[in-house]
Amino acid sequence: MKIRYIIIIIWAILVLAPLFLAWSHLHSISERSIFQVISDFNQRFQTKDSISYTFLVASLSTILTLIIGIPLAWNLGRYNWRYHNILRGIFTVPFVMPSILVAMGFLALLDWIDILIEHNHSSNIRFYSLLFAHAWFNLALVIRFCEPLLSTIDSSYEEACRLLPRGKTPKSRMINFWFPLMWPNIAASAALVFVFSFTSFALVKFITPSQRNLEVVMSNQAEWAGLDIPSLGRSPSEIVLASSTIQLITIVTALLLSSWLQSRSSGHHLSTMRDQRKPMSFFSKRGFYLIIMLFFIISPMIALITSSFTIRENNMMVFSLQGWEAAFGGSHSPTNVYQSLFSSIGYAFMTMLLSLPIGYFLSDTIFNLEKTNSKLAMLLDVLVMVPLALSAVMVGLGVLLGLIRTNPDLARSWWIPLYGHLMLTTPFVVRVLLPAMRNLNPQLEEAASLLGAGYIKRLISIRIKLLSPSLIVASSLVFAISIGEFGASWVVLRFTEFTTLPVMIGDLLSRPGYDPILRSAANAAGTILLLITLILFISVERFRPVGSGGDF
């Protein structure tokens, strides 16, 4: 059996086994059917309005992200700015930021806004803040899906369009030329933005604490789900089962749609694969717009950084380095920043070593299947993306059940957390490598094969060499996601002794904040994480291949 099929089978088991274990266990405990539980959702406080709120937030967040993201992708794709790579790095780094830090940044921002306009943190302002936080977080998806294609469309096509009756005005060219060209990419990014907004947890929990989406509902019920004890009742298991089913069906549908749209996107032939961007100065209307967007992106980051330098003292906020001292000294947490960062970097490197080959083989298989069996290719593509749709509650329960049934001691193994990291990063490796593979010239490999080069020789001399820029980008993405990963780590890491930086931050934030140093120390640790990720993203931007096909 070829190695790629073994990897597909292993991947399917890793993705589906915990889900199956958790689902069957919850199903065996539940007394009511999923439909009965769902029909009862609005009759109970724990679940009231959660379904409508989830769909509302996900839909509006998607629309807002597109409204903000498309013009930004246009300006980055069609124009070449000074420090372009740095700009692109800054605009896309929010996507890999731990959502708990994003929530803290936006809450700090709300306080700044409160000084300017008295709003008293009304529920409406909080709701809009949540939508903007989702847009901030997911902006990278729109940029990554649209900007590469925009940057390689030959300007002569648009010039030709100007001569036609339906292309005389910018608006008509947008409707008749650019939109038909770009809509698969826009829609594919919208589908993914919807997925991430639908499964959002920390942002909803912290920014709109009086509302619950399905992910928050499941998290609230998590501790009692799966326990068959009369005094606990069965409703937690039933609620988690019903919520996760709704979530899975919705997300898989969105992912299927996204995958189908991406495969359509790869079929157009107007891309020149050369940089077609025009130089543009910051001293222009577009430059002004870009600076405003830059301000939008860096505001929560600055708010977070400044919060790390302030502390409550004698009932007023004063400048202090105590938070930084506590973070580096470890006086208020089980580990200090050095140890946590070391663990984070160790896990990130190991995740990279595993995720890249697995992601490569999965991409290669999807790429080959696209030529012979497009439906199967689409299914495999969705299977690759499914981990992003799974609730941490279901994964955590499944992993726990699996370990307890097989070998409980494994739960304490240092490598078990790699599972969570692998599940979350491999889909992005595929999203980077797959479009790059689609853009490879197949004749090169055919020629090498005719000249007698074997598979390994072709792989090393042609494939990897041509894909190296994409591999570097994928590596940085894996590293950045892994180093900032909190949710999955917490689910499967909590039994081990390795505290990563995000887990250290979570630990500091989970304690009652009477002691003023706790919050500052968490912000200081968050600042370290932010700066590392930012530097990493900016430094690898120059390796990103021009027009990598319109994907992540």
Binding site: F45, A108, E223, I229, S510, G513, P516
Partner: protein, 360 residues
């Protein structure tokens, strides 16, 4: 940096990481205790290191959310030997834990504890290590007797002047919320009015726009106007009263230079005596180490520091919270409700289901 240097750097980092894993593996199992606790457990790493130096027993603490998370994790991992001790299961969950048969007996001398610590349970399966009362705190800036009158009974909170001004925690997701909910069951069952019960009060509070949060942090930090949350990002401050601990104003004063506007509400029977336990879990064979650790935790040296380590009262006889910076002066020792763990265990599922429907 060229590719070779990058590869060498990667290898160095990975090898160093692996060497750390190997070092850790040298600790023998018998001398290592794996403990499950709630997030807020405040024993410091320095103290644990000191314990290890004195006894040769190393300690690894896994955090599992709140008290409920500790119970559920202990039940889910029953008989696996993953954890040796649980820390933080309180008397509102103790009945559930006892019925799940997850504890083994400990040999701790129970004569060292205060009678208050042994009120709910005095057996050898769960050893108390700290305690406190859960009650309503109010902000004296707003609840000053003029603009809003200080409540004399829980019914006073149904007055229109309290509309949207009380924040409580969801009893299904928060241990303080659960404790206060149980207190209301007992309070309304034993008050002078036999025509109404806790359900009526909660329904009235629902009509009066009661603020219900999923956890203590959101209620106290985000909504409560009288706590430290006013200095935090994202503060709303729309609640003039909140469910917390009767000594929370004392902790506020301790960090606020003997100054706080927060006051614990003194209404007889409207508070819950929360007692937290340490227990030896079924599946562990480290009885000697477990007993040594528990004896250390309830020793006078460690337990007497609970008020500044874990922000709770010590469980040992004669233990009290510190007087420093107005901590004790601002704290209230109320007359708590009296409800047994067996009654809680038998009825809690039904009560919570009814509450869930009533509050929808």
């Amino acid at each position: 940096m060229n590719a070779n240097k990058a590869i060498i750097l990667c290898l160095i980092i990975i090898c160093t990481f692996f060497s750390g894993c190997t070092e850790d593996g040298n600790t023998t199992n018998e001398n290592k205790l794996n403990i499950i606790s709630y997030d807020a457990f405040g024993i410091t790493q320095e103290m644990l290191d000191q314990f290890t130096n004195e006894t040769g027993i190393s300690v690894s603490i896994t955090r599992a959310g709140n008290s409920g998370g500790v119970v559920s994790t202990a039940i889910q991992t029953k008989d696996t030997g993953l954890f040796d001790l649980s820390i933080g299961i309180d008397n509102s969950y103790l009945g559930t834990a006892l019925s799940a048969e997850i504890f083994q007996p400990l040999e701790t001398d129970r004569s060292i504890f205060s009678s208050r610590a042994l009120t709910s349970y005095d057996g050898n399966l769960a050893i108390p290590f700290d305690l406190a009362s859960v009650c309503i705190n109010y902000d004296s800036t707003h609840v000053d007797g003029e603009n809003i009158t200080i409540p004399n009974s829980l019914w006073d909170f149904t007055d229109p002047s309290w509309e949207g001004k009380l924040a409580v925690q969801n009893p299904r997701t928060s241990s303080t919320g659960r404790s206060f909910f149980i207190a209301t069951v007992d309070y309304f069952a034993n008050d002078e009015d036999s025509q109404t019960n806790h359900e009526d009060w909660w329904k009235s509070m629902r009509s009066n726009n009661l603020i219900i949060t999923d956890g203590w942090t959101t209620a106290y930090e985000t909504h409560y106007s009288g706590g430290y949350g006013q200095w935090n990002d994202g503060f709303i401050g729309d609640a003039y009263a909140v469910v917390s601990y009767c000594h929370s104003p004392g902790v506020e004063a301790y960090f606020g230079g003997n100054w706080t506007t927060s006051v614990a509400l003194d209404v007889e029977g409207a508070s819950f005596p929360q007692i937290e336990y340490v227990s030896f879990l079924v599946g562990s064979d480290k009885s000697i180490s477990a007993n040594v650790f528990v004896d250390w935790l309830v020793s006078s040296e460690i337990n007497s520091q609970m008020s500044t380590l874990n922000w709770m009262y010590p469980a040992i006889e004669g233990g009290d919270i510190t007087e420093e910076a107005g901590y004790r002066w601002h704290s209230l020792v109320p007359v708590d409700c009296e409800i047994g763990i067996s009654e809680i265990n038998e009825n809690i599922s039904t009560w919570l289901d009814e509450w869930d429907t009533a509050m929808a």
